[in-house]
Amino acid sequence: MSATKPRTLYDKIFDAHLVETLPDGTALLYIDRHLVHEVTSPQAFEGLRMAGRPVRRREGTMAVIDHNIATDESRYTGRIEDPESRLQVETLEKNVAEFDVPYIPLTDARQGIVHVVGPEQGLSLPGMTIVCGDSHTSTHGAMGALAFGIGTSEVEHVLATQTLLQKRAKNMRVTVDGVLPKGCTAKDIVLAIIGKIGTAGGTGHVIEFAGSAIRALDMAGRFTVCNMSIEGGARAGMIAPDETTFEYVKGRPFAPQGEALERAIAWWKSLPSDEGAHFDTEVVLDAAEIVPMVSWGTSPEDVLPITAVVPDPASAKDEARRDQLQRMVEYMGLTPGQKLSDLKVDVVFIGSCTNSRIEDIRAAADIVRGKAVAPGVRAMVVPGSGLVKKAAEAEGLDAVFKNAGFEWREAGCSMCLGMNPDKLTPGQRCASTSNRNFEGRQGPGGRTHLLSPAMAAAAAITGHLTDVREMA
């Protein structure tokens, strides 16, 4: 590639990490940061052990536990009840000890969801290649990094070689210009994007989110947007690093400081896509037209404005789509034509790597302050990390939630997926700030409606899905 050809942010980071190009064109890509969690790593460490291979770069690696753990006090006092969860956690602890991998244990205040912890600790930096055996690794792209999820075989490959075999992806740019209306957030932006491009719209692409509405987002909002890139089919989403990013990086434990930081920033400033860089696919949204969004079906593309009604399968464009809509309406327990704002909720979950940062918790607290959770609704807030929890408590936000009748819990993945004690029971309807509404995602038979933290808080207060713009 000639030096003068305009390149995208993705191209630049990709090129800067190219170890070699294999004869067939596959790239051997160097990985700067490898984050490891308990669910997708046991078989990878087992593979290393069987082949007698060490971890190539232990200081490029960091392990945490997040998926399996309880989010109540029991995590500190007792053993993990579920024997399989316990085995997975114990296996990680055994593996990090045996392979000498840096690890944040459960009792450490820094513990939390891997995609919250990475940026918070300065482990994820602009310009890096970052991987983790978890599809929501796309979150870290908000730092101006190339970050993507990998499978367990690839986890083993990175542990052994600090590299991955990769094909260059196509470039897609999603531009959101304009000013976001009151009551709308980064979550509404990304739900609107997925509604527009569909769950396979980004397949084979890396998405760069651009435009004035994206630039205006704080880091928390940028994480939310990049987090859900995978729900649009893209393996990675990224946002060019700028002053907002640099301010965020400053002072984080693993981030460079002083002169090293100055030098790093000089390089990071060269990363944004060049004028005239080629994008294979372009999508444009007007921020002013975005309204608070909520998912109604069992795929993240099935989102609608909160003011809409449940679609009628009979209106589908073809038979396959009609069958799909019919199945979703049945699974979700809906009636075509019903107003989304009439749907009563049983559970409200504020948490997950999409929306569990201090800014998300503040936004929810602003709606909840001085009010009470509707009778019969179970509402919970699960901070993304121990440090987020502490920061919220220092601002008195825990009291806002507890006084309203919310549960205030310990950090972890919690009810984002049905793998730890926080689960929906069959038929329960949940307003959730997480990222996936697949059948059974939050527990077998559970019904998930994805929305923003403010919208989730509003639903907790009224007991039904609610247009947050109507909350006084």
Partner: protein
């Protein structure tokens, strides 16, 4: 990893789009620390009733599809999480090949690494193969990776595309870690270059 050369077997019709990884294997089955034994969890939410009994209407609970080695599906197969448990569950059930109009990236990648061949074919052709699959026992479908063709029960041959490197690894049952380890010197010199240019990455 087992090599993949040719396969002749029963194909199960799964006429659904967006078969996500939570459908292929729900999160509650991810607590294993092994790669094997997940076949019983494949499609658990579709395959079993709430009381744990089998749902007789689900295709993989019907004869002859209990022995299916090929799966035919609609668009965007394998979307969702990065869990490699999805191909492990399919493999342990006995599936060695999935044919669909397209696949989600991570699942597509993970399949190859476990000796499962994902084949992309246009929707009309998938629909024809779906009809073949519905004929059950009498309609075996063959896959010839060497020649890159799917052979329908009536003898029609359908060519398919596949990345040459992946084809090579599958045909020979090779693991790519060993291959990359041979490039250790190139990785060493990359690290030396990077450390000089971006010392902050090296603490």
């Amino acid at each position: 990893m087992d090599a993949f050369t040719t396969l002749t077997g029963i194909a199960a019709p799964l006429p659904m789009a967006n078969v996500d990884t939570d459908k292929i294997i729900p999160a509650r089955f991810l607590k294993t620390i092994q790669r094997t034994g997940l076949g019983k969890a494949a499609f658990a939410n579709l395959r079993y009733n709430e009381d744990g009994s089998e749902n007789p209407d689900f295709v993989l609970n019907k004869e002859p599809y209990r022995k299916a080695e090929i799966l035919i599906a609609h668009e965007n197969f394998g979307c969702g999480s990065s869990r490699e448990h999805a191909p492990w569950a399919l493999l342990d059930f006995g599936i060695r090949c999935v044919i669909a109009p397209d696949f989600a990236d991570i699942f597509h990648n993970n399949s190859f690494k476990n000796g499962i061949l994902p084949i992309k074919l246009p929707r009309e052709i998938c629909d024809q193969l779906m009809e073949d699959a519905r004929m059950g026992e009498n309609a075996r479908i063959s896959i010839d990776l060497e020649r890159q063709v799917v052979v329908r029960p009536n003898g029609d041959e359908i060519p398919f595309e596949i990345d040459p490197l992946r084809r090579h690894l599958l045909l020979n049952g090779l693991d790519d870690i060993g291959q990359t380890m041979q490039r250790g010197t190139a990785i060493d010199s990359f690290e030396a270059r990077q450390q000089a240019a971006q010392p902050w990455l090296y603490g």
